[in-house]
């Protein structure tokens, strides 16, 4: 479906709008209340978080190597994947080697980014989601609508219907009953698994350990029950020390869900050791680049790699709230998605999502690690217009210049910097403004404007007034 049609469809879906409105308000309110009640100096903490990420990114190659070295010492196997295909192949080969036909999955956006489920399906291997939100959308074959809360666009009645239809159970609508359905369904799935896959929230270089956050405990199932645990880790998830990870964790959770801590914190330092009663026999970490090092090499856009995937920019974006994540047609939607999706998948393919922003700046205001998201969205627009930093952006050479838009702004700049031309234009507005109403349907810009607004009063009379006491120069 064309991007435009998709947006229209989402805007016309009144149930979706209602669900998103309710959910985003709740997430905003929870965060605001928690910060007010529990965090004495949130702004200072944000600054700390920004520094931690900037410091880490400035030494990323060194820290990645330190992570690899320490993880290996702990018995964790480390793999490097430069792109989606690499990462998928590594996992597929591990599955084939171990005769695995089903993989248990914890929530992971990196796995969405590499289209892991679809890749495995083609190879005859099934991926079973364990995150409640992911199960819901997997049952109806939809991608996540949000990076933290993947099924936030569905209300409990709709979830009851989905479970009834796909899991052949009674129709429920109470959260506790829905949870029970999911639990029964999953416990059955958990039993015969040999291989589990997860994401990573923080990979700690000094310890060679990975830290996973979750609220359900199901993610832990995919990291401890199977014999083999594979974690996909975007290279920007590296931090130097536990201290750094703690700062970021303290910023992440309130931002994401308005909690001060998640119900489960899984810190994995090694596979099962002699004498351990449980845990996987093998732990693999895949360090995924997928154009992240290209982003890192940009002087300007490298800040985008500071993202800790809390999703609060989405929760606060007035456009995201109206259209939902699917309207962006990209793995990463919302403000951070507008910044990274074009850079990971190509600005020629995803450049259009840069229009889905009124530049209100609320995302920059709430970002826990102070990524200037709105400013970057605007700067990426300038890359599209051929006036950016001059640094290479993936797919930029395949963008066709918009001649009409370019000409439009050239005319604007001429008018606004040439006094006689500007005055003539104002004179034109004064004369034709009031009689422009019947012409409105013929002029595309005015037609768009008046599609939901009354025709404005354009009198432009100020310039011809002489006010007492004013010095006119």
């Amino acid at each position: 479906m064309e991007a435009r049609e998709l947006i229209t469809e989402k805007l016309n879906d009144s149930q979706l709008r209602k669900n998103l409105d309710f959910a985003m308000s709740l997430l905003q309110t929870n965060r605001k209340k928690l910060l007010k009640d529990r965090y004495g100096d949130w702004e200072a903490l944000r600054e700390e978080g920004r520094k931690v990420k900037q410091n880490t990114l400035s030494r990323l190659p060194e820290l990645l190597e330190r992570f690899e070295e320490n993880a290996k010492k702990n018995g964790i196997q480390v793999h490097w994947a430069s792109d989606a295909k690499d990462a998928n192949d590594i996992i597929y080969n591990l599955a084939k080697k171990n005769n695995v036909t089903k993989i248990l999955k914890g929530k992971s956006m990196a796995s969405e980014e590499i289209h892991f489920n679809a890749y495995l399906k083609k190879k005859g291997i099934q991926a079973i989601e364990t995150d409640l939100g992911e199960i819901i959308i997997q049952l109806i074959d939809e991608p996540p609508v949000h990076i933290v809360v993947p099924a936030i666009h569905k209300n409990r009645y709709e979830i009851g219907e989905i479970f009834e239809k796909h899991l052949k159970v009674e129709r429920f609508s109470e959260p506790k009953d829905l949870n029970a359905v999911a639990r029964t369904h999953l416990r059955k799935e958990f039993q015969e698994f040999k291989m589990g896959l997860s994401g990573v929230n923080f990979a700690i270089a000094n310890e060679g350990a990975i830290w996973l956050l979750e609220n359900e405990g199901n993610g832990r199932m995919s990291t401890t029950v199977p014999d083999i645990h594979i974690a996909i880790c975007g290279i920007e998830k590296i931090v130097e020390s536990f201290d750094d990870a703690v700062i970021l964790d303290t910023l992440l959770i309130p931002s994401a869900t308005g909690q001060s801590i998640t119900c489960y914190n899984n810190i994995i330092t090694s596979p099962r050791k002699d004498g351990d009663l449980d845990g996987p026999k093998e732990v693999h970490v895949i360090l995924l680049d997928h154009h992240r090092s290209d982003i890192l090499s940009h002087k300007h856009y490298s800040k985008a790699l500071s993202c800790i995937r809390c999703g609060t920019c989405m929760n606060h974006c007035p456009v995201y709230e109206k259209v939902g994540g699917h309207a962006y047609g990209a793995t990463y939607p919302g403000p951070i998605g507008e910044v990274i999706s074009p850079q990971i998948f190509g600005i020629d393919r995803y450049g259009y999502i840069l229009n889905l922003c009124s530049l209100c700046g609320r995302c920059s205001e709430v970002c826990p690690v102070k990524i200037p998201l709105a400013e970057m969205i605007r700067d990426l627009r300038s890359e599209k217009a051929g006036q950016g930093s001059g640094e290479e952006i993936l797919g930029i050479s395949r963008i066709k210049p918009k001649m009409a838009e370019k000409l439009g702004f050239k005319i604007f700049a001429f008018l606004a910097s040439t006094p006689w031309a500007w005055k003539s234009m104002l004179w034109g507005v004064k004369v034709f403004g009031p009689i422009g109403k019947p012409l409105a349907p013929l002029l595309p810009m005015i037609k768009q404007w008046t599609s939901c607004r009354a025709y404005p009063t354009l009198d432009a009379s100020f310039q011809s007034q002489k006010l007492e006491g004013v010095i006119y120069e």
Partner: protein
């Protein structure tokens, strides 16, 4: 005190009365207003679309025009934000930077200037009324002058200011955004209006022409009876300057 007055492009096209009120307020509180007849626009339309070269051309025209060391006062937090903050970004690492910096340091939003530099003390002469306020995003987050605007409204004895539930949420104007993404913009302004209508007020006040044009235009089309008012027109009227 001599001040330059920058009326903004939208002010000149659609809010003549608010510009007259703004000048009267400045004069009433002791400023001598200079109006440069060659003024135009701050350059936001091209800037927000990423056309930085064109924007620099417009910015330099303004910097050359307002060349004396007087404060430049603007009845729009959004345009003030552009000239105070975004001009610096635009000219970073260019030979013009120091000049731009000097220029930007003289730019003020009118609310901020009235309150903090002219120490305006508003004496309300109007009937009792209830109003609500919409914050322009750039006034709130770039020039950070919203508190000054609201302080001025709160000074009016007979005006009861009721805050919106989602005061800090964009109304969907966003300049070229409203033309490029009309459907999303429409949904956003409808949401804003829903919030306004739920407050049971007589007026919806905003300090920025763009938001006001958007909100009032949509309210008119929907047939709502809350009256839209530009902040400075409202303030001048309340203290009997009209």
């Amino acid at each position: 005190m001599k001040v330059y007055f920058f009326g903004t492009c939208l002010g000149n096209m659609a809010y003549s009365k608010a510009l007259v009120s703004s000048i009267k307020l400045l004069q009433h509180y002791g400023a001598q207003v200079i109006y440069k007849k060659d003024q135009s626009c701050c350059g936001q339309p091209s800037f927000n679309s990423g056309y930085y070269e064109e924007t620099r051309k417009v910015a330099l025209a303004n910097i050359n025009l307002f060349d004396q060391p007087y404060p430049i006062v603007i009845p729009s937090g959004s345009c003030a934000g552009m000239m105070i903050h975004d001009y610096l970004e635009l000219f970073k690492d260019t030979p013009h930077f120091e000049r731009v910096q000097e220029f930007s340091s003289r730019v003020y939003d009118l609310s901020d200037f009235l309150l903090n530099h002219l120490n305006a003390n508003l004496c309300d002469t109007g009937e009792k009324t209830t109003v609500t306020w919409h914050s322009n995003c750039h006034a709130l987050r770039v020039s950070k002058c919203v508190e000054a605007s609201k302080t001025l409204i709160r000074m009016l004895e007979n005006v009861n200011l009721v805050e919106l539930e989602r005061e800090e949420e964009c109304c969907g104007f966003g300049g070229t955004f409203s033309i490029k993404e009309p459907e999303i913009s429409k949904t956003m302004v409808e949401k804003k209006i829903q919030d306004i209508l739920s407050r049971n007020v007589e007026y919806i006040i905003s300090g920025d022409g763009g938001c006001l044009l958007n909100i009032s235009g949509a309210m008119k089309k929907m047939g709502c009876d809350v009256k839209p008012a530009h902040l400075y027109e409202f303030l001048a009227q309340r203290i009997g300057l009209e």
